[in-house]
């Protein structure tokens, strides 16, 4: 029987960074992936002459080479910084609501302020105060709040994190309302909520503030070759360090002995021994289906009860036989809505009725190699909660999916009217497609619903089975930066456990 220090289940972002960190620190690690390719969401696929990015729209946390931010350090420590190339986006996004507003925000902290003030001069004071607040909240959340928590001192908290104390658990909407009058400005500044799938009234203000500040100050990025290039680079680094990977090989069971992890049973029936498992599969799958014969520990069951299922996505991957210019594209990322009402947009995310908004990303706008010469790689997304798809009969699935695709294209065509004329390749992905490729309930792409109640600050780590660790969008925030980081930090916790086990063995 093969034996490992650790088995990592799933090669999504968090699984990849966890496996790479474990192996590079000397733990003998087996990485299992159900699919033929690493990445989970962070992948690509080829149709005709096009290679489509599946999920990465804007990578955060990287910073520029001369003003680097945390992800450069993370990638460097994983041995992949020199294996990929990054491409900077120069705009945050274009927001177009026909008849109401059409604005492109620059990816620059000072430029953002300037643009907003130019457009809404009457709100200058609010704009300045709001942006300042975004910046301070970020600094407090990441620097001083952890310090104060470690010290356990309320005094420190109040002194070092005064803004966090005032705004940390306020909704994004209430803080936006406090600063601004004009509904257009409010929509414009909160547009990133569309990445989360939870409306501004239900997300904590720091979540929005971090996105605005991090993307504007540290820039949004793409990866050459797409997020697949990073997934492949991580596997390369993992293999170089001596790791073992198996594709087309799911984990069937996590085996335990006396309540602690003792091995993993593979799809092939084979059993491997290990005392540590890092599961990149959802905790629901991990505890309710993979864990052998046991009820999940009580605190885990209790935690599940206070969760709600997160959003999935409906995506149209378009290979177009025209240039971005011919399409009228002026920024890589656009949000196109039919209404300024967040609530109305959000309500539709739970139905198969025509969506009221969507996003368009044109990958070759800033990175010409992302499409063949003269052509364009364009991806349309609208977030959607997956449950509505469960009631679609299998025989109606294809019809329903194309009908919904037509409706999303209709929305986008109000701003980019030529999209349909130039289609050379198209692939439509529904929440069920996400379910198929991610193995997540309802096809969730960010884990549980990321409302204020989901905050990690309200929760304990999901443990109770010694040796079992979870790292994924489900255990913290969804998205690329958070999941890359979650895998790495989980590996550090797992490494401590592995070391302790080794010492124990040595002492017997």
């Amino acid at each position: 029987m093969h034996s490992y220090d650790a088995v990592v289940i799933g090669a999504g972002n968090a699984g990849l960074t966890a496996a790479t960190a474990l192996q590079r620190e000397g733990s003998k690690t087996l990485l299992l992936e159900r699919h033929n390719i690493p990445g989970g969401c962070a992948t690509s696929f080829v149709r005709g002459q096009f290679e489509f990015e599946v999920a990465l729209h804007q990578l955060s946390g990287l910073g520029t080479p001369d003003k680097p931010f945390i992800m450069r350090k993370v990638f460097d420590s994983l041995g992949v910084l020199d294996k990929v190339e990054f491409v900077q986006e120069h705009s945050l996004y274009r927001l177009a609501v026909p008849g109401e507003i059409d604005v492109t925000l620059p990816a620059s902290w000072s430029g953002l302020k300037r643009t907003l003030i130019e457009l809404f001069p009457a709100e200058q004071a609010g704009i300045e105060a709001f942006l300042k607040l975004c910046e301070t909240i970020c600094l407090e959340s990441f620097m001083t709040l952890p310090q104060a928590r470690r010290a356990g001192s309320e005094d420190m908290l109040k002194k070092m994190c005064p803004h966090y104390v005032k705004y940390g658990f306020m909704s994004a909407k209430s803080v936006v309302d406090e600063h601004f009058q004009d509904p257009k400005l409010k929509s414009l500044i909160s547009a990133y909520w569309l990445y989360l799938g939870v409306p501004p009234g239900e997300i904590p203000f720091p979540d929005l503030a971090v996105m605005i500040y991090a993307y504007a100050a540290f820039k949004p990025w793409h990866i050459k070759g797409g997020s697949q290039a990073m997934s492949n680079a991580l596997v390369e680094s993992f293999l170089e360090a001596g790791g073992e990977v198996r594709f087309n090989c799911g984990a069937e069971k996590i085996l335990t002995d006396n309540g602690a992890v003792s091995g993993v049973q593979l799809e092939t029936g084979e059993v491997v021994k290990c005392r540590t498992v890092v599961s990149n599969a959802s905790p629901l799958m991990t505890f309710n289906e993979l864990l052998d014969g046991q009820q999940p520990p009580l605190p885990v069951q209790q935690d599940f009860k206070s969760r709600r299922m997160g959003t999935s996505a409906f995506v149209i991957y378009l290979g177009l036989d025209c240039t971005p210019q011919e399409l009228g594209i002026t920024a890589a990322s656009s949000f196109v809505y039919q209404t300024l009402s967040d609530e109305a947009l959000y309500q539709r995310m739970g139905s198969l009725e025509a969506p009221l908004g969507g996003m368009l990303t044109c990958y070759n706008f800033e990175e010409p190699e992302a499409a063949p010469p003269g052509k364009s790689q364009v991806v349309l997304v609208c977030l959607q909660y997956g449950d509505v798809w469960n009631s679609v009969a299998p025989e109606d699935y294809a019809k329903t999916k194309y009908a919904f695709a037509e409706q999303l294209i209709d929305v986008i065509e109000q701003v980019y009217p030529k999209v349909r004329d130039y289609i050379e390749e198209v692939e439509v992905a529904t929440p069920l497609t996400m379910m198929r490729y991610l193995n997540t309930p309802s096809g969730a792409i960010y884990g549980f619903r990321q409302s204020t109640e989901d905050s990690a600050l309200l929760r304990e780590r999901l443990d109770g089975v010694p040796g079992l660790y979870l790292a994924s969008a489900w255990t913290g925030m969804g998205g690329f930066q958070p999941t890359y980081m979650a895998g790495e930090s989980t590996a550090r916790a797992a490494l401590k456990y592995i070391k302790a086990q080794h010492t124990e063995v040595a002492h017997v």
Binding site: S44, L157, K166, L284, E289, S306, D321, Y397
Partner: protein
């Protein structure tokens, strides 16, 4: 939570905690959705189908149609007309597989029809035609592939150029249109070498006479003496005559042997059809990769090379044999479905040495960069080591 009290000082924290506890009162531990993901996925995209052959019909001297049903008698998964399944077989101890388009209508889910034509020098087609009997069990993948009508942009004016067994997906598309009364025009231009090669001949002619929106044009390249039908090759001139002047808005599907596909593509482009209005079905690994640009000089298809599988062993193979095939013949294998360089399932890592990736290999950029190859269409041009 040790610092609970600490965060109580944060405005809104208590409310959030209370809201979370309230959710816990009405929420579930999700055990009721146990197995739901696996069930949903297997309804639409099962990894394997267990099939039983229920009927065999001889279509022509070189083709038979095998009707297969789910061994558990349930309905088979839905598919889009034009898609294929990959049929897994074991022949003389060798485990391999070949993709076959479904010939029957997607409206019929009690069975799939697979029309098998004898391939010259073939391996699996002989087995399916000569050894398989009614009542035998087969295994396959679920339905796959993107060679099907896509309502988002294909439109309603469809032309299918089929060569030989290339008419199989055309039949499924046609039946789908007729069964569902879709408002499409469907023209099938069907080329065969000999008159007795024409698969579904009577059925197609009958349907063409009954349905105004289906037009059938047959062409025979090697007609018998006294043949009165259309004969010769599908030249630009013939195509222009069959298609008429108005080509805008038409969608073209091409499926047949590689030379047929290349010829049709060339002719259509010459007639001014945009490449984006032409879909060509995948067609397995190329027979003559050495004719493609980039083939290394001095390497011949008959040369022998050594394939080492790290940690598992090694064997000798011919340069001209696709790597997946030689792996299978030597007791190794990789997951696969299209065996044509499109689905990526047979992706493996090349550790050393070189392979030739033909144009059929639809590799991702970063797979190329990091040495991942599609074994179904990779030709080892020197000794190689791979990771399985």
């Amino acid at each position: 939570m040790s610092d609970n009290n600490l965060l109580n000082a944060v405005a809104g924290f208590r409310d959030a905690m209370a809201a979370k506890d309230a959710l816990a009162q009405t929420g579930s531990d999700f055990t009721e959705v146990k197995g739901a993901v696996a069930k949903t996925i297997s309804q639409l995209h099962p990894k394997r189908l267990a099939l039983t052959v229920t009927q065999i019909v001889e279509d022509t001297p070189s083709t038979k149609t095998l009707r297969v049903a789910a061994s558990d008698s349930r309905l088979l998964p839905p598919f889009q007309a034009g898609q294929y399944i990959n049929v897994f077989v074991q022949i003389n101890g060798v485990e391999t597989a070949r993709p076959y388009a479904v010939a029957s209508s997607p409206c019929e889910r009690r069975y799939y029809d697979l029309t098998i034509k004898r391939a010259q020098g073939g391996f699996v087609s002989h087995h399916l035609l000569d050894a398989v009997q009614v009542g035998d069990s087969l295994q396959s993948s679920g339905p796959m592939g993107s060679f099907h009508h896509n309502p988002v942009f294909h439109g309603d004016d469809l032309v299918f150029l089929a060569g030989g067994s290339g008419s199989v997906p055309a039949r499924s598309m046609l039946l789908n249109i007729l069964h569902n009364d879709l408002p499409f025009n469907f023209q099938l231009i069907y080329a065969n070498s000999f008159v007795d090669d024409v698969i579904y001949a009577d059925e197609l002619r009958q349907l063409a006479s009954e349905h105004a929106n289906f037009r059938l044009d047959e062409i025979i390249s090697r007609p018998p003496a006294g043949f009165t039908g259309r004969s010769g090759r599908l030249t630009g001139e013939v195509l222009r005559e069959l298609l008429g002047e108005q080509l805008d808005g038409k969608m073209f599907y091409i499926c047949g042997p590689t030379p047929f596909n290349n010829n049709c593509l060339e002719q259509l482009l010459a007639l001014g059809v945009k490449r984006r209005r032409i879909r060509i079905e995948a067609n397995g690994a190329p027979k003559s990769p050495d004719q493609q640009a980039g083939w290394p000089q001095g390497v011949s298809l008959d040369d022998e090379v050594t394939i080492s599988v790290r940690g598992k062993g090694s064997f000798t193979a011919k340069v001209g044999e696709p790597l997946l095939n030689s792996l299978e013949r030597n007791g190794y294998g990789a997951e696969n479905a299209c065996r044509s360089g499109e689905c990526s399932l047979c992706r493996i890592k090349l550790l050393s040495g070189a392979v030739f990736n033909p144009t059929e290999a639809h590799l991702r950029k970063s797979d190329r960069d990091f040495g991942w190859i599609y074994s179904c269409v990779a030709f080892p041009t020197e000794d190689i080591e791979i990771l399985l």
